[in-house]
């Protein structure tokens, strides 16, 4: 421990810290410009000078880098220190008049005007070197450094050319205290921080605001450590030491009793229906994109805007896009009607647009759904019954200019109508997940015709599959909305627990067995068994079947030349008897 006197107060601090840190512990504020806790002290701006009084007189030392020593006596705001500090700030005011921190410090120290010549009134750079040190020590790219000397000293890339070393991490702009470095003009790339359009944003961030779990992740492309091996500030700063850059993805093999498949659905890709113009016409968006737009953490902050940034005056919602359609999916996706009603309600609430809803049948099957539909009717949403044939931007009359025209046959009044709107929302249906057939292969379950997983029995075993211990939940089994999915998930969990709760495991009744006397040890059966249930015993010279593994398919029995292998309940004799039984008159 070190004893020293600061501004008249004797204090004790641990060894190896600087005067600045000791002062901070005593809440004594010493101004700094070129100091940053994460970097080695550079002691260039000389604004943090304090007076250090010792036996042989007093001298000014920079508090940011001078270490505390026993018996030191420091005056942070003595006349001598203040005089030099004021002079330095006044000089900086002349050198970089537009630098805000300098202006603030000048006000604090009571300097109205600088007596020195101002070279460039909007100069912001105070040559503190924070950017250079960040680039070199923290990022390790060393793309920029100081050039020239004295009055011509400046920060730049070698020869002023674009440097390959620069990895566009914008650490320099981040550390620059005066905003002298703006990202745009540093390397001409526009930087946008948003989930949809990923510019080089901070490397460690929460994916989206409602992410579950709300835990930041490290984006390896943007993270400097994975590029230069340096930085790792996040792990220095994290008190919980929760960050380990060396962690790798690892595959964990789990022995489980049962598996619940909930692999979800894929939203129908509307570009398969060219008539609706998705991807071709502006402002034709899918339901998921509208959901994203309306969300508070969206790039527009929840406001519903057209691609040109204005608010739509009229919106059309088209149901059954890719569902109840022979050319695409015959089944009804069950959820589109209700979420379309939700969209209509949100549009009514957030914008003053008039809303058109094109449906075939309004399927409000759930609890309280119908009442919600009636509310919508009263709110003034215009419902038109008919399947929309086309969305086009070919205007035929004045008020259709610049609008999307929806052509639909209104079956209730028997007329083909043209409705001009600003924005079209396609209520896209649900399809089996992109990898659902691989999953089916892996888990040995089969799919129904529409590609969703097949349950063992629609009524008796709706959540289990043909393979024992594998259960289904959610939209992977068939389109359903959240309440149904939750209910089904509960059921699947119960089934799994019921299986596990028994505590014993009933073996397959119909397994094969090998008669030791008859078996000649020819091992034909060993290679045959897909479940490797048969092993050859060298001492006895015969093959044996492991009851727990044997599934009872009987393939080995039919292949056994000596008939040593027999399948319980399907012994050869029994089947022979069955065959003979057929021909008894």
């Amino acid at each position: 421990m070190v004893n020293l006197k600061i501004d008249g107060k004797t204090i004790q601090v641990e060894d190896g810290i600087t005067i600045l840190q000791a002062a901070e512990q005593q809440e004594i504020k010493i101004p700094t410009l070129c100091y940053h806790p994460l970097m080695e002290p550079y002691a260039a701006c000389r604004v943090c000078v304090v007076e250090s009084i010792s036996g042989k007189g007093s001298e000014l030392v920079t508090s940011c880098n001078t270490l505390v020593k026993n018996g030191m006596e420091i005056q942070t705001a003595s006349d001598k220190a203040l005089f030099a500090r004021r002079m330095n700030v006044e000089m900086l005011l002349a050198q970089a008049p537009a630098a805000v921190p300098v202006q603030e410090l000048a006000k604090e120290l009571g300097i109205e005007k600088t007596r020195f010549k101002i070279k460039d009134p909007d100069e912001k750079c105070i040559l503190c070197g924070m950017c250079v040190r960040a680039c070199e020590d923290i990022v390790g790219a060393s793309a920029i450094s100081f050039l020239q000397r004295g009055q011509h000293r400046e920060v730049c890339t070698p020869f002023g050319e674009q440097s390959e070393a620069c990895i566009g991490c914008t650490a320099c702009a981040f550390f620059c205290p005066t905003g002298a470095i703006t990202v745009e003009d540093l390397h001409g790339r526009k930087v946008i921080h948003s989930e949809l359009d990923l510019g080089p944003s901070t490397a460690i961030r929460v994916p989206i605001r409602q992410a579950v779990p709300m835990v930041p992740f490290i984006d390896e492309e943007a993270c400097i450590h994975f590029k230069t091996g340096e930085c790792k500030i996040c792990s220095d700063v994290c008190q919980k030491e929760a960050i380990d850059h060396e962690a790798q993805d690892e595959e964990i093999e789990l022995e489980v009793g049962s598996i619940i498949l909930a692999s979800g659905f894929k939203s129908f890709d509307p570009s398969l229906i060219p008539a609706y113009g998705y991807g071709r016409l502006d402002n034709v968006i899918t339901a998921l994109e509208f959901e994203r737009l309306v969300n508070a953490s969206s790039p527009t902050g929840g406001k519903i805007l057209l691609s040109n940034g204005e608010e739509p005056k009229s919106v059309g919602i088209i149901h059954c896009v890719g569902s109840r359609d022979e050319n695409y999916n015959e089944y009804c996706s069950r959820v589109c009607c209700m979420y379309s009603l939700k969209f209509a309600h949100l549009l009514k609430e957030k914008t003053s647009a008039d809303i058109y809803d094109f449906y075939i049948d309004m399927r409000c099957f759930g609890k309280g759904y119908e009442e919600f539909y009636h509310r919508l009717l009263h709110e003034g949403t215009k419902f038109i019954r008919g399947r929309v044939s086309e969305v086009s931007d070919m205007a035929l009359s004045k008020e259709e200019e610049g609008k999307l025209i929806i052509r639909v046959e209104d079956t209730l009044i028997g007329v083909v109508r043209r409705i001009p709107v600003d924005m079209v929302i396609l209520a896209t249906g649900l399809e089996p997940g992109t990898d659902s057939n691989q999953i089916a292969k892996v888990f040995n379950i089969s799919c129904s015709q529409d590609g969703f997983f097949l349950e063992r029995h629609p009524k008796l075993a709706p959540v289990s599959t043909f393979s024992d211990g594998i259960f289904l939940a959610g939209t992977c089994q068939s389109p359903k909305d959240i309440p149904d999915t939750v209910a089904q998930a509960g059921a699947a969990a119960c089934e799994a627990l019921a299986l596990a709760d028994k505590g014993k495991f009933d073996l397959e009744p119909i397994t094969a067995e090998i008669d030791e006397e008859l078996c000649a040890g020819c091992q034909i059966c060993v290679g045959l068994c897909p479940f490797t249930a048969i092993t050859y015993d060298k001492e006895k010279g015969i093959s044996e079947i492991n009851d727990a593994l044997c599934k009872g398919c009987g393939t080995c029995v039919s292949a056994c030349p000596s008939g040593a292998a027999q399948q319980k309940h399907f012994r050869d004799k029994q089947i022979f008897a069955e065959i003979e039984g057929i021909f008894i008159e």
């Binding site: 002290p41 550079y42 002691a43 260039a44 701006c45 000389r46 604004v47 000078v49 001298e59 000014l60 920079t62 880098n65 001078t66 270490l67 001598k80 005089f83 030099a84 500090r85 002079m87 330095n88 000089m91 900086l92 002349a94 050198q95 007596r115 020195f116 010549k117 105070i126 040559l127 070197g129 450094s145 100081f146 020239q148 000397r149 004295g150 009055q151 011509h152 000293r153």
Partner: protein, 610 residues
Amino acid sequence: MAKIKKEKEYRVHLMVCAGTACVSNHSFEIKEALETEIKKQDLDNEVLIVTTGCNGFCERGPLLVVQPGNIFYQTLTTKDIPHLVEEHFLKGRPVEKLMYIPPEEKTPIPVLSDIDFFKKQVLIALRNRGLIDPEKIDEYIARDGYKAMAKALTSMSPSDIRSEIQKSGLRGRGGGGFPTGLKWEFVSNAVSSNGNVKYLVCNGDEGDPGAFMDRSILEADPHSVIEGMVIGAKAINATQGYAYVRNEYPLALNRLYKALDDAREYGLLGKNILGSGMDFDIKIVRGAGAFICGEETALLSSIEGRLGEPKPRPPYPAEKGLWGCPTLINNVETWANIAPIINRGAKWYSHIGTETSKGTKVFSLVGKINNTGLVEVPMGITLREIIYDIGGGIPGGREFKAVQTGGPSGGCIPKEKIDLPIDYESLSDAGSMMGSGGMVVMDEDTCMVDVARYFLSFTQDESCGKCTPCREGTKAMLDILTRITKGEGTDEDLTLLEELAVSIKDSALCGLGKTAPNPVLTTMKYFRSEYEAHIRDKKCPAHTCRDLNVYTIDEDICVNTGHGCDLCRRNCASDAILGERNQPHQIIQDKCTKCGVCYDVCKFGAVKVD
């Protein structure tokens, strides 16, 4: 036992000075002329021509010293050579007209050691000056070269060496005056962060304008520096040495390269030196011409290949220097003093000099002085002795005004302090500093404000620009001084100048910044009247600041003595002078650009400057 080839016997050695100053004064042509003449007189197996390093008396170059007999010839031209060879070398009669005649005296002084310039000098760092051929290692060895190293390596332990240096009282000759022994102690005690790697550096950057001590030492006696460094390496068991020499010293660099190669060839450097098991080698790093790289931490950054920019201290280089390992940095002159101390003992050395400053100091005596040159004088010698006895007084009988010591970081010492004994403390008490040894003598015609401006323009241009006070402060002071020399200065400028000087001196990061205000502070302290003259009466007493001069023509002198010779009018570039032959001439003030040509041209002194 190595078979050393027999040296041819000669009876006369011609020591031709080949320091940079003499070389630029065509001393190599003198040498060629000598060679041809001697061949003509077929004296070539009796007379040997030796080119030596700088002899010191640069004012009178090109120089020749004839040995034996120590006869000193100066300001030689190729035309004098035939007569000289025949007269002196053939017939043995020294030629008086080529000898040195002190100013205002008639009788020539043949023997070098009788000349005042040399008489009061005590040569330690320059002990072999003019006596050996710097490119022949054998001649260095003949004058007890490497004897000290042999003694240190074989019979002295590192602590013996260090205590010997401590006892000698030797202090750093680079300018700081830090006790060398103490510094060596720090470095040898420091623990290296990388195995036992320790570095040893010779600072030959010598950026001060007008300073050429290190250059002369390297040119005259490179081996003395090498021997010093090897002894130093043993004292702190350093593993690698660096000699940082300015790229602007090509001759010194060549001689040092040659000396290093010869030393390695003789096994006095490199692996297993003199069979003592010690390995040490020296690499030369050439400075890129930045004055700041004379500052120790900036020098180290430069060796490391990084931007030459000082680092805050502590940690001092002794603990964490080159690549973070303990590094011993000393100036060329300091290293040159090591071998004599080891050879002749600390007691002998501590007898020379004053109580606090031991040994001698090499000064480069320049400016308004008759005997411009390199002088090595014992500490404690007075300014008067240097200027008048050694320096031969002020040329043109003008009056001595001040002397500027320590280069741009030093200050000006007025004539009132002429009897000031020269040592570290006395100079810093007077507001200046020892510095590397530059000594610029100024006479009454020097304007002190302009001197301050000149030195400020130098430090401002050479400031590395890292810390605010030095980067911006020196520029601000320079602006003010320039305004004052143009006659636009105000009283507030004076107070601002003083404030700036104090705040820069207090808060700058490195030596350059801390000492840059010295010229201003000392000139304001001792010559405040000149500042006031510039500001209040808009006059420059020394007439150096041209914008303040007012040229007038004394009409009766012009007519009566000069008969209106019209020379001034014809030479006036901006035709600001009226008048014809035999008529009094006049100067039109607002047209006059104050270039001073008329003043120089007028043979009758009719043009007056006020």
